[in-house]
Each structure stands twice: as C-alpha cells, then as structure tokens.
Subunit: 324 residues, 2 copies
C-alpha cells in the first residue's frame, strides 16, 4: 500500500491537505494517476456545509486529467446519471464527496467515466474542462438549443460555466453578449469574441442593453434572484432562458402574460448526461476550444485556491497542477 | 348589397346583436357562409374591455364552420402568424375584433385560412374545434412534447382548451389526470378516459394527488396563480409545465433549485402556427376526436351564451347554430 497526497473534507467541513493510502486496482475500475484537477463552486459550498451528502474524510474535487495505461484521459464527473436523457436519476452523484474525487495523486473510478484527453489541450487546460464544460453544453445546446446566428446573453461572465457557455456560443457563430459586475471581465470577454457587455451593477442596465442588442434568443444564467424578471423581459419572442444555478437566490414573481404571449421557455439545467459529456468533448475538439485558466496552484496551496474562488474575482478556472 | 345578422362589439364594449351589410367577394378572399360558430373566453374578455385593440363595430367570434363553393370548411383563427414556428410575429391577430369574426351569417377571409371540415364532425362540433384545439395542441404537443405512456395533468377541466388537451392526451395514450372545483366535471372527464381527478378546492389536494399519481411528466395549465408552485412540485424529474393562460393571476416566487435540479421546463404557449393548426386537424381526424359541446344557442340568444361562459359552469364549448 502506497501513500498519496490529497485534499479531503475534514472535521467541521474544512478542506484539509493530508496524506492517505492510494487506491488499489479493483475489477472494472481504473486507477488513474491524476496530473491536474480544477476547483468548482461546488467545492467551496461543501466547505460551507451547503451541500447534501457530505462524507467526512472523502477526497474532494470533480474535475481531473491524468494518466491511465500510458494514455492521457479526462474524467466525466457525472456518476450514475441513469437511463433518461431528460434528467439524472436517483443514484446520480457529482464526483468528489461522497465518492473520492480528483484532489489527489490517484483516483479509482469505473472505466466508463474515462475519455481520451482532447489533443489540443494541455493537462491543465483539460482538467479545467469537465464539470463547467458539460454544465455549459447542456444549458446552451441540449436545453436552450442555441443555433448559429442567434443572439445569446451569458450572465456573470468570469465564472467557469459562464465562460465556457460564452466560448461555445461564439464557436456556434451566435452573437454573444455578457454581463458582469467588473468592467475588466467584460473587456476580456469582448477580446474572446463577445460583442458587448453590460455592468449589471449599473442602474437601468437592462434597458440600455435591450436597446443595444434588440433582445436575446437565448439567455444562460447561473444566478436567478432579483434580475430574473429583467432577463425574461430581455428575451425576444420565442426566447429561451436556461439557468444552471441560483447564486442570487429565489425567482421573484413572474408576469405570466409575458411568458405565454411571447412563447418563452424557462429551462432548469444541471450537469449533463454521458451523451452531453461526449458531445461536449467532441464539440470542444472540433472547434479547438481552450478553457480559460485563471490561476494555477499546487495541492499544498489548496487553501489559497479555495480563498480565491470564494472571493469571486477569478476569470476562468482555478486549477491544481499535481506535479508542483 | 345584402343584409346579414351579426354580433358586434358595440358602444361600451357590449356584445350587440345587429343587422349589417354582408361582405362582398374581394380577390384572394373567400366569402364563407357561416353555419356555426363558438364562444371563447376571449369574447367575454373583449366585452369587459380586457383586450388590446378592441374596434367598436367589428363582428366578434374566432371559431367558425361554414360553406364555401359548396364545400364545408373550418377557419384557422390565427391571422398573420408570421415566419417563425417559435412565436407569432408583430402582425399576428386572433380572428374576431379587430378583424370581422364568425358571429355572423357571412365572413370575408383570405382563402389560406380555410381548411376542409373533418368529415367525422358535424358543423356544430367542427365550429367548437379551432381556437381551443390549436391552443391545446400547441401546449401539449408542440411545446410540452407529450408522448405515449407519459403521465399528464390537465388543470381546470371543463374549459374548452383543457378538455381538448385532455382528449388529445388520451388519444396519445398518455395516462391523464385532471383537476376541477366541481366533482361533476371530474366524473365526466373520467368517463372520457381520464384516470382520476382532484378537487383543487380541497386542502392538501396536491399531496394526495402526488401520492396517487406518482407525479407528472407534463402539466397543462391555464390559470397560473397561487397553485403554480404546487404544480411545479408535482412534476417528475425532466417534467414540462406548459401554460396558455393566467386566469388566477401572477406566478408566485419559485424555488430555482427545484427547477434546475429536476431539469424542469416552464413553457409559455398561446394559439398556434399554421403548421400547428394543420397538424391539430390531422390529429383530430386520425383519432376521430369529437369536441365536447356544452350548450347550443342561436345568435339571437348571444346574451345568454355570454352569461353562461362568464359563469364558468360550462363543460365544453358554447356553440352558436346559425340556422336557428
């Protein structure tokens, strides 16, 4: 039995760097040597106790890239999705707590969750892809069915899912707009192919933005909260609003006439099926999309990485390089 | 110039039985001799001034069946839908105010809005079909994409759209449940193929109903209001709630976690495109569906017909027989 370094969820929901016994090969499972992993909001919520099914001592981390039988692989973090494309089943779990995750030197995982690493990506870039990529892909493409030429708004640009959704929409030849509370993030988004951005902290931003853009066919949102009715107003007739999170809280009362008269669709979306994941990886490969990396940490510096995520100032994914 | 009887929207938004000049043939337009027509909630709202674009003196009525060049025809009441299947365009109007409608002996209408009357229907039954039929078809099939074997809830059974949605869902081999405030309406619905019904006036009805049914894949609603969050809770994972009206008012705050974690879809729907209309008529013909008629009036008795609709006690469509 060999030892490995890992970041586990420790007593009091503290993310703790530790040494633990490395997993051994079990029939049907692959033991992958992880070379890189990436942080998600989910990891921060786990340390705040805001997640069901927290299991003390489990290795954290949903995103990973590594070596298996001499080949570079990425991991599909959506475990036991189930048989329906429409929704995950009762057994569904995101990799990393309660199942041992990717913030470790090794992971044991059923072989079906391994896919070849896209060749155009480095290990660090590939580790940044899985969870944000599949969430963005399902929201934008499987659920909202964005098409070339459509006008797409992605809110809260800078977060992993939002950035990926923007990159996917640009690759689809959509006309993409973004919102943020930070002018620097908007500038970066425009340099990556967005048409324009709005500061959602400005009074009346949605009217200005509606006038400029003419309204949106698709909106991808991760915050809900008080701006949700404004997003509905910004949809064009036949528009689709897909949301994958609710960092700003509950959805306020909605005017039903607006929704039925404009034939709007409000679509909840989370994670993605194995088909979504495979299609996402194919799409990323076809369009040579490179996930944006905000900053690279070592697993020893996990605390600093978690703090950066909690501050919300990142633009792109926070990645762990397991070789440093 | 010949004279005809008609029901127009008169001064003070009163529906008024009158004599007026019959329309004459214009190029591209058909002059149809109307043999039957049917009342919709829309007509009642017009008399309450609760509708945009009311034009005093216009003939009321959206639903009609009649004779054109010796053939029996029905009228598609969705005028100038536009080019997109996703939503009606800016020019869209429902037949009957401001355009002259079907509560008259004759109507002049572009030929494109005429379809052969389904042979299995009488004129009175065919007149009951168009507006409710296309609204139900688009909600249930084009928008919510109900499929054989799925569990469908139709709320407020008794109204024209709700009944038609129930009949369509039964024909699709869905397992259909209904709600009403009237036990007699539930009994009738069950006699027409519904599995079971709930009185939405009973305390805790949604929990009983959820336990009995196991939850719904599709819900078709026309009321919104305070029961909307209960409907969302009654959806199974991957479920779709389509609504075509909001007789009970605004949509209260929604729990976004419920919507994204269960991958729910909230779909606004109104009327239908020319394709929806043609598909609906084909579907009704294929399955020999007969619209339910509540009561038949003469145009002279329009006042009594409007009162019956306003009271909300009808089960099925209120129809005008133009030959009596």
């Amino acid at each position: 039995m060999s030892s490995m370094k890992a970041v586990i969820i420790g007593p009091g929901n503290v993310a703790s760097q530790t040494q633990m016994i490395a997993p051994e090969a079990v029939k049907g499972h692959a033991v992958v040597q992880l070379t890189a992993s990436a942080l998600n909001h989910r990891d921060v919520w786990i340390t705040k106790g805001q997640y069901p099914g927290i299991k003390e001592g489990a290795v954290m981390g949903s995103d990973g890239c590594g070596l298996y039988r001499g080949k570079e692989v990425i991991l599909n973090p959506g475990l036991a999705w189930g048989l329906s494309e429409a929704c995950q089943g009762d057994q569904f779990r995101v990799l990393g707590v309660p199942d041992n995750g990717t913030f470790a030197d090794f992971i044991s995982i059923p072989e079906e969750y391994l896919l070849p690493k896209p060749v155009h990506l480095s290990c660090l870039e590939a580790a940044a892809l899985p969870l944000a990529g599949v969430t963005a892909y399902r929201s934008l493409i499987s659920r909202a069915k964005a098409k070339a030429g459509e006008r797409v708004l992605v809110t809260g640009i800078g977060g992993g899912v939002a950035l990926m959704a923007m990159q996917f929409a640009v690759a689809l030849h959509c006309e993409v707009y973004v919102t943020s509370s930070d002018q620097e993030k908007i500038k970066k988004a425009v340099s990556m192919g967005a048409m324009e951005g709005a500061l959602y902290t400005d009074e009346g931003w949605h009217n200005d933005f509606l006038n400029k853009s003419g309204g949106f066919d698709v909106i991808i949102d991760g915050s809900c909260g008080s701006s949700f009715p404004l997003l509905l107003k910004m949809l064009r007739a036949g528009g689709r609003l897909a949301f994958y999170g609710a960092t700003a809280g509950s959805i306020p009362p909605i005017n039903p006439q607006l929704v039925f008269w404009k034939q709007l669709s409000i679509l909840g979306s989370t994670m993605g099926s194995p088909s979504d994941f495979q299609e996402m990886v194919d799409f990323v490969t076809l369009h040579s999309i490179v996930p944006v990396i905000d900053q690279v940490f070592s697993l020893q510096d996990a605390g600093a990485a978690f703090r950066r995520m909690a501050e919300g100032r990142q633009f792109g994914k926070i990645v762990f390089d397991h070789s440093i």
